[in-house]
Symmetry: C2
Subunit: 298 residues, 2 copies
């Protein structure tokens, strides 16, 4: 959205008439001014479902284990929060840590043992961006970190670092780190149909509003509830500056006191976005992806 | 199957009448005496589909990258081979390495550069069990390896090791290791309907044959082709000893000369097993898993 605003400024200064509309899209869901962003619901649904499946996987063994799963999200824990939908159904991580709260390694290690001793397994979900009270990323406790093109730190390896800490503290415990990595953002085979439709409508609305003469707006998704209590989205242009350069965090009141889980307030937000099962177009049993061809102007 | 044979021997020696039937199940697909094993088709379909999605993910960037994906399979490359279904559709890894061939790090590093220079990206799939010509696992080139309960080495970290080698040789290249880890064996949300039906029928046949008086058999899946050329499985008991203690490798003639890819002979084997889209029972947009309750005998 910041880039949209800059392009618009540049066009205006250059005297080139151009209407600029921002269409939000990020699995991180950290954009201000919109209830949620296209892309988020599909990734969140994948995270929640994978966590249920990892729960089932862990529960077939006699020997318990600790499994630390790293989820994307630099400064906001929206995607990691989605794991709570699995927890609420009885098949999710025992501990969920978001960057909205400070992370204390000692408290974490004690909690892992407490859960493991009680339940025989301990499943953990962590946002890649969790940090200590001094703001230092836990992912930087050992590994070196490179930077991407936007100057963001390239995170990764957090799950491995935490898993090693658990192994060192409790020798002999079976510990497995899992990084959902790119899989969580490209798992189109399990996309939310609600998300797919909203993504299309957000783009459509942007084009319609631009044709009507609007500019320097972002298309926000407004959450409405119909007379039967059902989720119903609306698409409205809001000023670009509302969204530019501020990240939206998970509300503090959705996070439990210990900072290692969510309460059910987040379910009302999450569940209507998951939708049912998307019917896929398959070819040889695998999804067929549309391809937009580049056509060179004559 | 080896355990089935031992149980049967023990029962006979103890004079306890018991009919023992083995029902194969492993995503590794490395069991002799059966065309394939329940579990394999679903995991293979997930591996192929994830590779297509990772291809799409990589293709949206101007900056190319090298992505090394580690797939399960200690001594047999069946699961990694499944990535070829994505490659054959034009959206898969450029290089696929199975443990059925020796792996040479130098040759690999040169090949990665060749592909990257030609195509602007280089996507790699490796079996966790790839080894050099002396039989040493590439995964052991740096990391230490623990052992699981069966004395198998606990592998892992191979993708990270190979990615580091590529980074060291070609500094400045964007390289990402991804381990499909447990996700590839528990992604029930994208199971093959063919696999689910076959798993049920294999178990049903085992019970029926035991009731008929058979023992010391494994239920094998025999691949038939009907008059229209369509895949049609049959379930037959075969002697347990056929399957016990020998692992079935991917046929050498399905692997290309360079040992870095498959030819299309493996597609005839793979594609009929993928089936269409499994219709899921959802609850809150997430899969509902059946639970068999333990009932204590009075």
């Amino acid at each position: 959205m910041d880039t949209c605003a800059k392009i618009s400024d540049y066009m205006r200064e250059s005297g080139y008439e151009c209407r600029v509309m921002g269409v939000p899209k990020t699995i991180d869901n950290d954009v201000m001014g919109t209830d949620h962003t296209p892309g988020y619901a599909s990734a969140a649904k994948y995270v929640a479902t994978s966590r249920m499946e990892l729960f089932e996987d862990a529960s077939v063994y006699d020997t318990g284990s600790v499994c630390v799963v790293e989820v994307m999200g630099r400064h906001a824990g929206w995607l990691t929060m989605a794991a709570h939908a699995a927890t609420a159904s009885g098949k999710g991580p025992d501990l969920i840590y978001l960057p909205e709260r400070d992370f204390d390694v000692e408290v974490f290690l004690k909690k892992v043992k407490e859960v493991f001793d009680t339940r025989g397994n301990c499943l953990v979900a962590v946002s890649e961006g969790i940090h200590d009270k001094d703001g230092k990323l836990i992912a930087e406790y050992s590994a070196s970190a490179a930077s991407d093109a936007f100057g963001h730190k390239q995170l990764g390896g957090l799950a491995a670092i935490l898993a090693q800490m658990v192994k060192d503290r409790y020798p002999g415990t079976k510990v497995r780190p899992i990084e959902l990595s790119l899989l969580q953002r490209c798992a189109a085979h399990f996309a939310s149909p609600v998300d797919c439709e909203e993504a299309f409508l957000a783009g459509k609305t942007a084009v319609e509003k631009a044709i009507e003469g609007e500019s320097d707006k972002m298309i926000a998704i407004i959450r409405d509830t119909d007379e039967n209590g059902n989720y119903s989205p609306r698409f409205e242009p809001v000023d670009l500056w509302v969204a530019a350069n501020t990240e939206k965090p998970v509300p503090q009141e959705w996070i439990n006191e210990e900072g290692n889980g969510l309460n059910d307030k987040c379910l009302n937000y999450l569940l209507p976005l998951f939708g049912g099962q998307k019917q896929l177009v398959l070819e040889n049993g695998m999804p067929r992806f549309a391809k937009l061809k580049k056509i060179k102007a004559e």
